[in-house]
Amino acid sequence: MSKILIVFRSTHGAIKAEKALINAAIACTVIPVPRHISAECGIAIEINEADTRTAHALLLKQSIPVAMYHENGERYDIEEG
């Protein structure tokens, strides 16, 4: 199944996002931020591509700034799904 990577600007946002996704029963995995995507030291969250729209709407509602990427590092356009 294709994965989408969610990258955050802060650990605060990442932890808040993971909590929100878990509470919304959206499957998610915390992973190191891939180097080809970002130089951030912290965590990214991997979700199933099928859940992207729902996840994006949820995080937008929580005012958590995010950027989403395909596994190959290409920026994911929320309008794609």
Partner: protein, 374 residues
């Protein structure tokens, strides 16, 4: 018998979970906050963020990113004073400020031409919100109010003061009040609030926080690594990272979290303390410094003997009764100038939620003996 009555300096005892959770982090968990992605680090990051959420809730702040961890309230206050464009501006202060406020302001006075002006008040230091507007000038850039005095325990009406200030930012020093007095920063429109973890919140020393309503107004105090924007030498421009350079006091914050989750039930009531204050006031050789309005009384007060030096009284209380108190100026010379007790200071009685009515009666009995001295 709990004879430690210096909880305004630092609280003791702490809930047992504080040391337990700190030890668990140091001995079993370890790991950094916000730097790595393996489970240990993620667990630590979750714990720290959970404490941030708890603090936000305690402060009545809906956006937890507005809560920035600091080393203590002094650090938080300096962050505001050094981070605002105060060059040549006027800062309004309450008449009961602690040196955590007055010393950095004195530095700014010398270095940046900042002027200080005291808000209108009564003899116990209570600010008159209806008179605040008179103090505002074209150069007023900030007001700072100690929510609860560390000398006489007076609680200021900060919601009404902020209302009177309007758009002028208000920094509330809640070092003494947080943990005892309700704080509702969002609904009161408070701009900045400095708290410490080791007094009323019953957490460990080395912890504190600053609430920042609008981070775009405030420059960071220090710059360094944050685990974010790591490809840039520029500090992040968003809270909380903007103000959290360097490694946080992870063990301390975890301990603070344990304290926030524990919140022991108070073993005495406000009425018990007011009764102690009233009894002290009835003793002819004692002069008590407290709020004139009992509804404005926080959990501490000061007193002096008519003839004996406050340090001699403190020594008597310790030697004869084992009662541990602070005597002197309590790092608040401005407050003592307002109360008329400068330069000698006072003896301060500061109980915690752990004191029982019997403990307070013990203090009362000791004070009655102090009254007989000299």
């Amino acid at each position: 018998m709990n004879t430690y009555f210096d909880n305004a300096a630092t609280s003791f005892p702490k809930p047992a979970a504080v040391a337990q959770e700190m030890a668990r982090y140091l001995n079993e968990l370890g790991g950094p906050y916000g730097r790595s992605a393996y489970p240990r680090s993620v667990q630590v990051s979750k714990q720290i963020e959970a404490v941030r959420e708890l603090l936000a809730d305690r402060l009545g702040a809906t956006d937890s990113s507005s809560v920035v961890f600091t080393h203590n309230a002094t650090h938080a206050i300096n962050l505001v004073l050094r981070g605002l464009p105060l060059e040549g501006k006027q800062v309004l202060i309450s008449p009961l400020e602690h040196n955590a406020v007055t010393r950095p302001l004195a530095c700014l006075q010398a270095q940046r031409g900042v002027t200080m002006s005291t808000l209108p008040h009564g003899s116990d230091g209570l600010i008159d919100p209806d008179a605040v507007a008179r103090s505002i000038t074209a150069s007023t850039a900030l007001a700072i109010v100690s929510h609860q005095s560390n000398v006489n325990g007076l609680i200021q009406p900060i919601a009404r003061i902020k209302q009177a200030l309007g758009a002028i930012p208000l920094l509330v020093d809640a070092s003494q009040s947080c943990g005892h007095v309700l704080l509702r920063l969002d609904s009161w429109g408070i701009d900045f609030c400095a708290i410490t973890g080791h007094k009323g919140l019953l957490g460990p020393t080395g912890t504190g926080a600053l609430f920042v309503r609008n981070p775009s107004l405030l420059d960071p105090l220090i710059a360094g690594g944050t685990g974010s924007n790591s490809d840039s030498v520029e500090m992040p421009d968003f809270a909380p990272d903007k103000y959290e350079a360097g490694t946080l006091n992870i063990a301390g914050i975890i301990g603070l979290g344990a304290a926030l989750r524990t919140t022991p039930e108070a073993r005495h009531t406000a009425g018990d303390l007011l009764a102690l204050i009233a009894e002290a006031r009835s003793m002819p050789n004692l002069r008590v410094y407290c709020a004139q309005d009992p509804d404005r009384q926080g959990p501490l007060f000061s007193f002096n003997h008519a003839r004996l030096d406050c340090s001699a009284v403190a020594r008597f209380l310790l030697d004869k009764y084992g009662i541990e108190v602070r005597s002197g100026l309590q790092c608040a010379p401005v407050a003592h100038q307002t109360l008329g007790t400068f330069p000698k200071g006072t003896v301060r009685i500061a109980p915690s939620v752990y004191h029982t009515p019997d403990d307070l009666r013990y203090v009362r009995d000791a004070l009655s003996k102090v009254n007989e001295l000299g």
